[in-house]
């Protein structure tokens, strides 16, 4: 991917909290250094200038919830050499995916009244509609991990995930094990690189970086079933994995 011309980057957001873009802005100088190597040709949140030709890289944050977003996703796919999902709403459906498609109608009625026709169809990951080249998970993404992946992306390297789970990072940080304290935790099966940041703050791990490839979900469930109710386990998995395919494996 080495050539003189700057890579054309489009940064798009569908329905979400925009927190992953805020994490990117939080990279400050690092972001500036990366932005020197690409030309941001389309970024609604950051600039008015918007080109719609080809993109070398399209980054998409958020879940394609409305028909307009689903159509736009397909258009962006056609125009992009590499399509990368940014953040858990894009990669797994995120928090909005807690609700199933069928449940949405009753909430449109309750929240907006019977006259209102909801725009949102269903909160699904980008991969439900188009082929995705790589997923940068996280709710929110880790700025540093995203910077590492961007750097590889811009330099044409093969993209990969860290070869460890959140559990490993938690051990490195010397934190007390939640499972030993009989508190549910998805750390052992969750893809790492977040630095176990939620666990460091005292919160649970709901596996927002996705389920690590090859993780033994069954073994974790055996442990969880020893002290947690079916409902509690369901709650933990539903936070970010309601629509992820791996959820069906448990």
């Amino acid at each position: 991917m080495i050539n003189d011309k700057k890579l054309k980057l489009g940064l798009f957001d569908f329905t979400d909290c925009e927190g992953c873009q805020v994490e990117l802005v939080g990279l400050k100088e690092k972001l500036l250094a990366l932005s020197e190597k690409v030309e941001i040709v389309n970024w609604r949140l950051g600039q008015a200038k918007a080109q719609w030709e080809q993109f070398d890289i399209a980054l998409i944050e958020g879940a394609p919830l409305t028909p307009g977003e689903i159509d736009l996703l397909k258009i962006i796919r056609e125009k992009s050499r590499l399509l990368v999902g940014l953040g858990t709403c894009a990669t797994l459906g995120g928090i909005p995916a807690i609700l199933d498609k069928e449940e949405r109608q009753q909430w449109y009625n309750k929240i907006y009244g019977p006259e209102y026709e909801g725009r949102g169809v269903d909160a699904l990951p980008l991969s439900a509609y188009v082929k995705i080249d790589f997923l940068i998970h996280g709710c929110p993404i880790s700025g540093n991990e995203a910077a590492r992946i961007f750097s590889d992306l811009i330099n044409g390297k093969k993209l990969n995930y860290k070869d460890y789970s959140v559990c490993f990072e938690c051990k490195l940080a010397n934190l007390p094990c939640r499972l030993l304290e009989k508190k549910p935790c998805l750390g052992p099966i969750a893809q790492g690189a977040c630095g176990a940041i939620c666990l460091k703050g005292g919160s649970a791990c709901y596996g927002c970086f996705g389920i690590k490839e090859g993780a033994n979900v069954g073994a974790l469930l055996t442990i969880l079933n020893k002290f947690a109710s079916e409902e509690e386990i369901e709650n933990y998995f539903s936070m970010f994995h309601n629509k992820s395919k791996l959820y069906d494996h448990r």
Binding site: F12, T15, D16, C17, E18, G19, C20, Q21, V22, E23, V25, G26, K28, E29, L32, S35, I40, W43, R44, L45, G46, Q47, A48, K49, A50, L65, T66, E69, D71, L72, I75, I95, P96, I98, L99, R104, Q106, W107, Y108, K110, I111, Y112, G113, E115, Y116, E117, G118, R119, G120, A123, C139, P140, I197, C198, K200, G201, G202, S203, N235, M239
Partner: protein, 412 residues
């Protein structure tokens, strides 16, 4: 293409319709509905702050703490003094983070004749340096107290899972001292920007405890037109209108279009500002909504000083890490109100006796600002008979940015 109708450089997706023949302006909100008020039902109370903070990546702390306060009211929990101080520090960092992001990176390019915040680096390096340093400080306070710069990890109903060590607070104190000049620079920069000059009658609303500049503690809602109301009546006094072509509701206070946020707090509470902010008040025109961005810069300085003050108190006092527990026979219904960066935010939570959420209602600041944005847009059209459609569109988009709408919050 559909995306081109979205207004650039605001949080979330909205479009501006101008009926040029009749000189009318209207907003259409197009963000997808995530239905947070549905997502939360049947989930445990303790998940409320975790989930609602994900309504908005720009003001997650405000949502997190509004839910915490609502759940504590429902459970009859009285948090300790350390907890309150740490939450006030979080709110200070929240205001700094959100205002810096918006005022510098999204709004200031309008007044400087450039397109994006990234361009500031080359074209206005001093302004860029100020923005980057202040964003860094806001993020560091959040990281130290809330556990992460975006989306808190340490907070819980009743207190904190973890409180910062004195050593962390000492380091924070040093950094705040060292970078104070950037907070002063923020107010100076925005006092000197060239804002479009309009005079529009604005009614301002703010939560208050009548003792402090608004933020974490709220007891009543006050209006610049002396039309006060109780927080408990928020749902009656802030009426939300559903428009069939908009995914966000439009909120009016006592049936009037009102403005909430930085300019509203400044108008109603300038007597409570840190003294160092006072001289920038003279530059503020409370009839010009574009001055909301100046008010944001003044608030950056105020909350910076506030953060310094709170860190000082935390360093002097013995910190109590205890998490407060529910009282016997709690009401199981509670309202959590805070002044978020964009104005008054309300979370109401009802629980069953197993601690599961049975009902949640959220009214966000931007919902309250939407009718005022349309009213001010209309005033611009009325007051500028000679401008072209293209100029009107540009100016009204600037106006909308000046209000700092958060559409992701408004729809939620």
């Amino acid at each position: 293409m559909i995306i081109d109708e979205f207004i650039a450089k605001i949080e979330g997706h909205g479009a501006l319709d101008i009926d040029w023949a009749n000189k009318k302006a209207r907003l259409r909100i197009l963000e997808g509905e995530r239905l947070f008020e549905g997502i939360l039902v049947n989930r445990p109370a303790e998940e409320a702050p975790w989930i609602t903070s994900r309504i908005c990546g720009v003001c997650p702390i405000a949502h997190n703490l509004a839910s915490v306060k609502a759940a504590e009211a429902a459970l009859g929990i009285v948090p300790n003094k350390t907890t309150i101080l740490l939450r006030k520090l979080m709110m200070a960092s929240q205001i700094i983070q959100s205002h810096v992001l918006h005022a510098f990176f999204l709004a200031s390019p309008d007044y400087l004749g450039i397109d994006s915040g990234i361009e500031l680096a080359k074209k206005n390096p001093e302004i860029f340096k100020t923005a980057i340093n202040l964003k860094g400080i806001g993020d560091e306070i959040s990281l130290a107290v809330a556990g992460r710069s975006v989306l808190p990890t340490t907070t819980t109903i009743g207190g904190f899972h973890k409180i910062p060590a004195k050593k962390t607070l000492t380091e924070l104190s040093g950094k705040l001292e060292k970078n104070l000049n950037y907070a002063i620079a923020a107010a100076k920069i925005f006092a000197k920007l060239n804002y479009p000059q309009y005079n529009i009658e604005l009614e301002f609303i703010s939560q208050t405890d009548k003792k402090n500049y608004p933020g974490y503690e709220s007891e009543i809602i006050i209006s610049s037109q002396k039309d006060d109301s109780a927080i408990e009546d928020y749902k009656n006094d802030i009426q939300e209108e559903v428009r069939l072509d908009s995914t966000a509701k439009f909120g009016r206070y006592h049936e009037k279009a009102i403005m909430v946020g930085a300019l509203a707090r400044l108008a109603t509470h300038h007597d409570y500002l840190d003294p160092v902010c006072r001289k920038y008040l003279r530059a503020t025109n409370f009839n010009n909504p574009f001055h909301n961005n100046l008010a944001q810069a003044i608030e950056i300085l105020h909350f910076y000083k506030k953060a310094q003050e709170i860190v000082g108190i935390l360093l002097r006092e013995k910190l109590d890490p205890t998490v407060a527990v529910p009282s016997a026979n709690p009401p199981l219904k509670g309202i959590g109100a805070v002044e978020a960066p964009r104005g008054g935010l309300y979370h109401e939570i009802h629980l069953n006796d197993k601690g599961k959420i049975t009902f949640i209602n959220i009214i966000t600041p931007t919902v309250q600002n939407l009718p005022s944005m349309e009213k001010s847009a209309q005033a611009i059209l009325d007051q500028s008979p000679k401008i072209s459609l293209a100029e009107a569109r540009k100016l009204i988009e600037m106006l909308i940015r000046a209000y700092d709408p958060c559409i992701t919050c408004a729809v939620h």
